[in-house]
Symmetry: C2
Subunit: 560 residues, 2 copies
């Protein structure tokens, strides 16, 4: 069996290696346009920051062997042709024309099965000046190398990152750690569009705390040369302002590489990526496609989506190999699980966001919650800001988002598992998660949040989001904003127009809470506010609501 | 509605508070025999170690308010009588006789609903000398205080911990951090019986590395006074040896406090704990029981179990309160999820262990795996040793155990969720877990392990456990033990009787592998060994197996 794999970075080598393990007698060839094989694209920001010291580490195995062509030959039995480009697929005759980029020579490789692992490429928008020196994307090892060199050799002091998505914020941290000033410019009203707005605001606050300038709703019009050197970038011009920049990173996103598939008349999906079935097979039964060039099914909405991820690529590779070798394996889809490190914060999400859930027709319930990620008396405990999204009708968990200087990654992976399994928030609330003070509170953050959602769905808790409260205040609605924290907490920071009545004295001072207007209670995390609402409810107050997430998750400015 | 709750530590106050939130007009009284309320029993080792500085932190809310009777009155609307013991239940008349321990006075409290949250108590075996000074259990705040005082004031240098379970190993770390020498004495052949033997061995090795003496299969016969002071402990006498000890910690386990329930003729379950239905109701419809005094259902085996946990207690409290207030809520059961910190190691497990699974009638498949817990090139990455247990028939995941200086907690909580949801290992292998280099490898440890199990179940991988290999070697069986690592790795440490042929040269040197005897291949983690097995299989070697977990998880001594 002759198998040709086009693409030598992630999904391609995985498919090739698994084919060889299943069929040690197979004849497997991997074609890679670039020089480097099996490199960790996701690791580039950490190489740029210096956390990863050597380029070679990005393309080595866990025991330090560089994955070059010789490694693939001797350890995996795979022939790898790097610096070789696949030019076209001749489906009728089962062959691929390849070009040796070192000498320009072309030849045909015959296949019984073909695997497309052509990956994605960074979007470079048609901004004037994008060809100036010191304007980079972060995609290949060579990009990272060039950025490192520029910083080390040319005295870069100010960097503008265009795009506040995953790569953008990871690069903001990486470059800040190299001692340069970083500004993120983002067209949307928020960084990290994978998050709901109020969650993204928390990350934005943290970026600013760490010295990063964040300009949202800002469109870049042009990159302009500096005054001293007209070949290198010097300024980023936007509609409302112009920023100085010795370096610009374009981190707009990626698009799938589908040219080969398109010209071979393979089916392209609605997202613009290659369409495959659950067996990772394209519209040609002898051609598979895997990794960042294919589209997936979102398991929550059932709709096609394009979410390129190194984790998904590896799963794709295995599934394709199994089916190529006559076994049966399927890839069901993804739920958009993502995590990234942004300075001291972990940012993670899974499933669908609030708007996405609504757009998909769910009857959405949400909650915000912030409690420590470990037993609160255990010193390393840090607040974890968590949002859950559920469907009122089925009570299924649909999405989860978490951030803070705390263990968000664990909660999001648990939520991802629960969402994939179709668990309801009632079932999530009963999960037997492992507890000890150094690892979680006795009631894990996810369980507390699930219980809050249950209280809401069961009408035990009536709540408003901080955005709803803000709109009411701005519209001048006559509401009583009740802060149930302690005087000391109030002194530190509070929300304007709020009235302090600590929970401990609320029973005595309940008469101070007006009965003729809506009451909105909050505290630090809104647990005490919930107690307060129940006390007031018990005394006949008809309209008491609790503000989701408390003052910790208030996404606006505070007074002090 | 009059609700009386007996027990003021974890499940009791939770039930009481939730009743008040659901029914702000209820009349709720909590009886607590001890002085302290709502204290973090699980936090005691961290108070003893000094990680938690003040006793008050153990009984404070997250914002630092001490949960005393006044707190319960003013913030929760609950009457709390501490230092008050419940003497007997008069079910016919719906009342409890209580005794004020400060003055000995008794009186009757009437209830409409009664909640038993009587907890558990440490097992104190009938060892001679157990009444000597400086012999402690670790259960109440007072125990922790006494241990701290003894260490600070009486120059304790050597401590023997009797019992190598959870509390035993947590105390080994806590006391080592106070600068004393610790020995653990355990009757069983391993510490941490919640783990399978080969996993426990890894923890034992780490304890020893950290200077703790570990004596397994050792039974304590007597505690004996020292030579200078005949009222304080000085030695621990066992069958084979005698250890010096200025302090002894008895950490044998706990038993449920069922006396009140028993004398009230409530049903006691087969585990010796109070029997409740899914509504947390005892055999008396007006009496609920929650927390460490009740038995649960193991969701994997369907059998009753006694697994007292602070996390479970909180869930119990909520469920009981909901049902008391006429809502409907159920507690389905537990799967034995546990985590603890042992020096630099996290130790966690969930579901059933290998033997437990076999005893429950499953057709057991297992795998051992050790790869880094983060992208291997990301510097904080550390090995995670993982064992999965599955059922060949249904392919369902049944159990998971993990340890190492790495993020075991996340993987076990994900596994707990997967097991609860009844996921197969095939489904686990396809989970869309959130990936970025600082949080996991591109293929998460759980996914790699699930794929190994799938390879085994699908006969692509034939394997032996390290214990099977050891037995074959000890029995003198004529096997070829093939180490496929590099010469440098072999130099550092290897298994006696093994032959080194690095994977990279195996294709050329395959003739050196005999065809007339069983071949057992291994490497560091057994991923290269798996490649080797496939290569040899491809060349017609009929009997090649891979050793689970590689040399990293070899639980015996190594040669160097």
């Amino acid at each position: 069996m002759r198998v040709v794999v086009i693409g030598g970075v992630a999904a391609g080598p995985k498919a090739a290696a698994k084919v060889m393990r299943l069929r040690p007698d197979a004849d497997v060839t991997v074609i890679e346009k670039g020089k480097f094989l099996s490199y960790a694209g996701c690791g580039l920001p950490y190489y740029i920051s210096g956390a990863v010291r050597e380029q070679a580490e990005l393309m080595s195995t866990a025991i330090g062997v560089v994955r070059d062509a010789e490694y693939f030959r001797s350890c995996k039995g795979i022939a790898v042709l790097n610096r070789t480009e696949a030019m076209r697929i001749d489906r009728r005759r089962g062959r691929v024309e390849v070009k040796d980029l070192s000498n320009g020579g072309t030849r045909w490789l015959e296949y019984d099965k073909l695997v497309l692992a052509t990956g994605a490429r960074p979007v470079v928008p048609p901004i004037p000046g994008k060809e100036l020196r010191n304007v980079f994307v972060v995609h290949h090892v060579e990009d990272a190398e060039a950025i490192r060199t520029a910083i080390a050799e040319t005295g870069i002091r100010k960097v503008v990152i265009v795009g506040g998505g995953l790569i953008g914020v990871e690069m903001a941290e990486a470059l800040s750690r190299r001692g340069v000033h970083v500004a993120i410019v983002e067209m949307l009203p928020q960084v990290l569009p994978m998050l709901d707005w109020e969650m993204a605001r928390q990350v934005e606050k943290h970026l600013i705390e760490k010295g990063v300038s964040v300009l949202t709703e800002s469109r870049v019009l042009a990159l302009e040369p500096g005054q001293l050197n007209d070949t290198a970038v010097g300024r980023v011009r936007m509609e409302r302002e112009t920023l100085p920049a010795d370096m610009v990173i374009l981190a707009i996103g990626v698009r799938p590489n589908i040219q080969l598939a398109e010209t071979a008349d393979l089916e392209i999906g609605p997202t613009g990526a290659i369409q495959v079935n659950a067996h990772m097979r394209t519209s040609d039964p002898d051609i598979y496609a895997v990794g960042d060039c294919v589209e997936s099914t979102n398991l929550v909405t059932g709709k096609p989506c394009f979410v390129p991820m190194g984790s998904t690529a590896n799963k794709h590779g295995r599934v394709a190999a199994m089916n190529i070798c006559g076994e049966n394996d399927t890839f069901p889809g993804v739920i958009g699980s993502t995590v990234c490190k942004v300075f001291d914060y972990t940012v993670a999400r899974t499933g669908v966001g609030e708007e996405e859930a609504r757009a998909a027709g769910f009857d959405v319930a949400t909650c915000l919650n912030s409690v420590p990620d470990k037993a609160h008396y255990y010193p390393p405990a840090k607040p974890l800001m968590l949002k859950l999204i559920a469907d009122r009708k089925t009570r299924r968990l649909l999405g989860a988002q978490a951030t803070g200087p705390s263990d968000a990654s664990k909660r999001i992976d648990v939520a991802a598992t629960a969402i994939t399994a179709g668990l309801t928030v009632d079932q999530v609330a009963k999960l037997d998660l492992a507890y000890a003070p150094p690892f979680s509170p006795a009631m894990d953050n996810l369980i507390v949040a699930a219980d809050i959602l249950r209280n809401k769905m069961d009408q035990q808790l009536r709540s408003l989001t901080p955005m709803q409260v803000k709109r009411m205040l701005e519209a001048g609605e006559d509401v009583f904003l009740l802060d149930t924290r302690s005087p000391a907490e109030y002194e530190q920071a509070h929300i304007e127009q709020s009235t302090l009545i600590p929970l401990g004295v609320l029973r005595e001072r309940a008469d101070e809470v007006p009965r003729d207007k809506p009451v909105i209670a909050f505290c630090k995390s809104s647990l005490r506010a919930y107690e307060a609402a129940r006390i007031l409810h018990g005394r006949g107050h008809a309209n008491v609501k609790v503000m989701d997430g408390g003052i910790v998750m208030w996404p606006y400015e505070l007074a002090d």
